[in-house]
Amino acid sequence: MSTQATMSTGAVTAGPPKEETPHNRLRVIILALGAVLFLFPFYYMVIGSFQAVADKSLSGVLPHPDNMTVTNYQEINAAIDAPRALLNSSIFTMGVLLCTILFGLLAGYALAVMHFRGRQTLLSGVILVLVVPFQLLQIPLYVLIVRGYGLGDTYLGMILPFAINSTAVFIFRQFFLQLPKELFEAARIDGAGEMGTMLRVAIPLARPAILNAVLLTFIGPWNEFLWPFLVTKQQDMQPFAVALANYMNNVAGRATNPDGSNMAGGVLLAIPPVVLFLIFQKHFTSANIGSGVKG
């Protein structure tokens, strides 16, 4: 099927072949203009984070060696304990990744290749969860997790609502669906149990789907603001996004260069996911999501 072709070629290189140069020139012009709009704020954020005095003039777009400093980074680090905040973000993210891979793979596998009672109901449930966003349940979740179970200022409290990423479950399912049925039947006939079939046949094949889901899942908790903001009151438990937001609202005003120290924080928060995506960019395709999309 077409999705299989997509998988093997890497989503982008396929499609209508366009060799004529005039079209491609227009393409490149559109793409280049867009890329400037998309990348400029990142560039400007880095430049601004190194400015000793905030330079909002036109020439401030370029780096000026005499106006460069690392003070902004030192100030935000002193105010929010950056390594600690980054550690909190990492624990939060790792907890979610671990649960999603472990339980999400099991669920995605079962939903795709196993036949059991209630599967159809559960599938509709997954779709519903994808449509109803977590934010609309913030009040009862807060009542239950923070007030009821007393999990405020704990990693568990942060992780719980995000523990298994439903989009990842969906990606896993779509991937396993694409594998030929005969594969699983052969393994079953050979006497491999379901667990064996999954571990030895399906999961090794699913590596691209797993990588894709890991990337997608990673940016969820790493970038999440609202929920950890509700859960953490103690600063030493706050993930970086929360610590930075609080710094922007309450502390930055007293910094030597408030804009600069805010942006220094922004750079630190942005680096991990951006680097991760630069490394694994090729593997990040929505071929799996897409196969669920086509009509």
């Binding site: 998309f38 909002k56 777009v61 196993m114 059991f116 109803v132 966003p133 349940l137 930075l244």
Partner: protein
């Protein structure tokens, strides 16, 4: 395909061994009942994080439920539909709904048009493709909180944008101007989420049959003709998804009004329902009132998603 094993239908339709003993058992618990065990952790998770909170929210919304000091026992009487009535008459809530629609009117068409055009442009063998793809995904993978820092810097009173615009700059500046605050949030979110929607369209473009382009070539169609008559209808299912997902994202803005426009300012011009729900429920401790907002929003979200699906999938 003969062995779909129930991928499309709820169960095996015409199993020859249906009447025998084991088959009956199979029909009851399924051919691989172990699957139940496999999905159990996920089912427990959904029950605990989705179903149960939904029920709790439903009940709280009918009570005068507020947060008291820990340990104190307080009465939280049933008040029937009073919370709902109050919410619907609350001018700030009405304003937040109006703001969301203002947001959606800008964000959804812009998202669909820009992500489709950029995906179409990216869907070719050109040099530096990896660079372009990376550029478009960068805002999507970065935290809103991080990007807000530079937007505040650029769009401030004396920021770079106003410096460039000179006398054309709006007064008061963008983020503190009541006419510009919400459109600015719409632009921010469009820009930030575009990479994700480009990704969806890129995948959808792979499924447009090449023969259609070839047939259009034979008919002497121009690039524009092909875009409108082959590509746009070809990615229709993806467009449905993009519209629904963009709408859902737009209904649930919190970080942007909280940080970019300093708490839904100026003067409530960029208050969003989720931000208001947070203010009422968490800041002011009126959980019952906030729960009613949550239920109303849930209803609106599902309704809009349903209507959009009907409209866009009508053929």
């Amino acid at each position: 395909m003969t062995t779909t094993s129930g991928v499309t239908g709820p169960s095996t339709e015409a199993d020859p061994e249906e009447t025998t003993g084991p088959a009956r058992k199979e029909r009851w618990i399924g051919r691989q009942p172990l699957g139940l065990l496999f999905v159990l952790p996920y089912v427990i998770f959904l029950a605990f994080i989705f179903v149960y909170p939904l029920i709790v929210q439903f009940f709280i919304s009918f009570k005068d439920y507020f947060f008291a000091a820990p340990g104190a026992t307080v009465e939280r009487p049933w008040v029937g539909l009073q919370n709902y009535g109050d919410v619907l008459q609350d001018p700030t809530f009405q304003r937040s709904i109006f703001n969301v629609f203002e947001f959606l009117i800008i964000n959804v068409p812009a998202t669909v048009a820009l992500s489709l055009v950029l995906a179409y442009a990216l869907n070719a063998k050109i040099r530096g493709l990896w660079f372009f793809r990376g550029a478009y995904y960068a805002p999507y993978v970065t935290a809103s909180v991080a990007i807000v820092t530079v937007w505040l810097f650029m769009f401030g009173e004396t920021g770079l944008v106003n410096t460039v615009l000179g006398p054309l700059a709006p007064d008061p500046s963008w983020l503190i101007n009541k006419n510009w605050a919400m459109p600015m949030i719409a632009v921010f979110v469009t820009w930030k989420q575009l990479g994700f929607f480009i990704l969806l369209y890129l995948a959808a473009l792979q499924n447009v049959p090449k023969e259609l382009y070839e047939a259009a070539d034979v008919d002497g169609a121009s690039t524009m003709d092909k875009f409108w008559s082959v590509t746009v209808p070809g990615v229709r299912p993806a467009t449905t998804l993009v519209v629904i997902l963009a709408t859902i994202t737009g209904m649930n803005l919190f970080t942007e009004p909280y940080l970019l426009t300093n708490g839904g300012g100026p003067n409530g011009a960029s208050v969003t329902p989720v931000f208001y729900m947070y203010q009422k429920g968490i800041e002011q401790g009126q959980a019952g009132y906030a729960a009613a907002i949550g239920m109303i929003l849930l209803f609106i979200t599902l309704l809009i998603a349903l209507i959009q699906r009907r409209l866009l999938e009508r053929d």
